[in-house]
Amino acid sequence: MTAVDHAIPDQVADPVAPGGLVPRAASRGARGALRLLAVLVLVAAFAFPFAVMVTTSFKTTGDIFHAPPQFWPTSWTLANFRAVFTEMPFWRYLGNTVLLCGLNVLGTLLACPLVAYSLSKLRWRGRGPLLVVLLATMMLPPQVTLIPVYLIWNHVHAVNTYWPLVVPAFCGTPFLIFMIRQFLINVPNELLEAARIDGASELRIYWTVVLPLARPALATAAVFQFVWTWTDFLNPLIYLNSTSKYTLSIGLYNFFSEHGVDWGPLLAACVLFTIPALLIFLAGQRYFVEGIATRGLK
């Protein structure tokens, strides 16, 4: 895991790092300008669709259906946003989604570190095989288990409830368990041994020593789980039938479908739907990037 340890501080320190900014010669300056141009073109290509979404949501119908498309509205309007709140129960969907996100994050934070601790710091027979099984399940296409799991929930009459969308998080997600495990491996054993010699039970060691130390990994896991639940489409699509239980994903999907192509309000709803994920991302950006880097360099 040394790879990650090196990678992250580097990334933070990078913008003031070697060469580029030192005004040594004219050719240096030209090269710097070329570099900046390359970065700007790249970023513009990826940010542009996003920008189009935002400016379109403030356009009047006349501006939206203007060929060829114009980037800026000729006159700015909030009508599309007002339409979102009158044409769909936005607050209800938002409340449902926040509730599901909260429960899923809670489940992840309860279950994943427990399992990760068992797979990293407890020495027991069967630990190695269990880790292999855990990693193997990450390879299994979810399509294989999709139908039987649906039938289980159908059998216990839990379709069209939140149970199928919440319970799995309380069992732990292999990817997040693995990520926290990779973090816990680096916790020095001496800390745990010292507590053990003092007669602390494993549960107490876990609670008072391991969890506080694992805080960065837990934050990463929480951010991941939040964004997954927030953006999840397939599971709510399969399990939720009544409009009153819809999440924003499915609500938005239905909004589009029923209203044909009412682009202004639709894109306004898209903007509103993206903002919370964006805020969480900006707040937890560091954790997010670390989590992805861990995954890539395991």
């Binding site: 790249l42 939206i64 399992v115 407890l122 294989v144 309380f170 494993e202 489409f233 999907y253 479908s257």
Partner: protein
Amino acid sequence: MARPDRMAYPDHAVRPARAARPGRRSRARRSQLLWGLAFASPWLIGGAVFIAYPIGVSAYYSLTNFNLFQSPQFVGLANYRAMAADPVFWKSLENTLYLTVTGVVLTLVLSLGAALILNLPVRGQPLFRALLYLPTIVPVVVTGYLWRWLMNVQYGWVDRILGLLHLPQPDWLESPTWGTPAVLLMTLWTIGGPTIIYLAALKNVPRELYEAATVDGAGPIARFRHITWPVISPVTLFQVIVSVIAYLQIFTQPYLLAQTHLNASTGGPGNSMLTYSIYLFENAFVYLKMGYASAMAWVLFLVTMAVTAVVLVTSRRWVHHDGR
């Protein structure tokens, strides 16, 4: 007994562990086993209920005729034979393989290119990296609608930009030829994940190697070919496997891009956006052919394993291991 006062300060002086007497050892081992199982229990239970049992049952369902309302009827390999004779199945497989091959190659090229650019010494890179990653956290429903709008023939920006560059302006959402590339274009917007992974890998290339090569007169292209590419090749292997699996399972993006109105057919023009997973989903939850869908899931699993195995075997030729 636990002593809470000491527990609050876990990093006090470490004392050597007491030598365990032989009789105690087995008891200690059993207690360790119990603790290990106890801590792992959430996933042991979850894995049994949501993974192990479903795998077994799914294999059985794949050999049955099952519509949810009647109990499954054993039909042997009939579902697999029906699949072989089902043109829509083959069309969905063809679309998916086409998306996988082009998607994986383009994902690698674009994410590595983006990572190289975002690794340049330019002020403000953390912000630029965040902007490139942004599309990845946009809810996928939003991505689907946004790109439906961008690919609109009259009012969309994709064709507008192609027009400004004097390139052909296809009817992305109506033409059977352009349906699959439309899905591809949309998914390539979200290459933030692989890019960040490549960035981390690039940070890992020892700087001394570049310096030594520069002294030897190697240009940027030679440095990339002989230093960067070999050093990051294990990460490339990882990225190939992850994106192959993701593309083989692709569902939501084409499903949303193909949707014109409520309960419309989800295949797009001429079924050009019908991926394997969409067809599987339709069989399961629209036609309620649970047996057939389960059989499809198993074929997908086998295809995934086969493709991954091919990637791993051929990777020996191009992945560089430095013995770490």
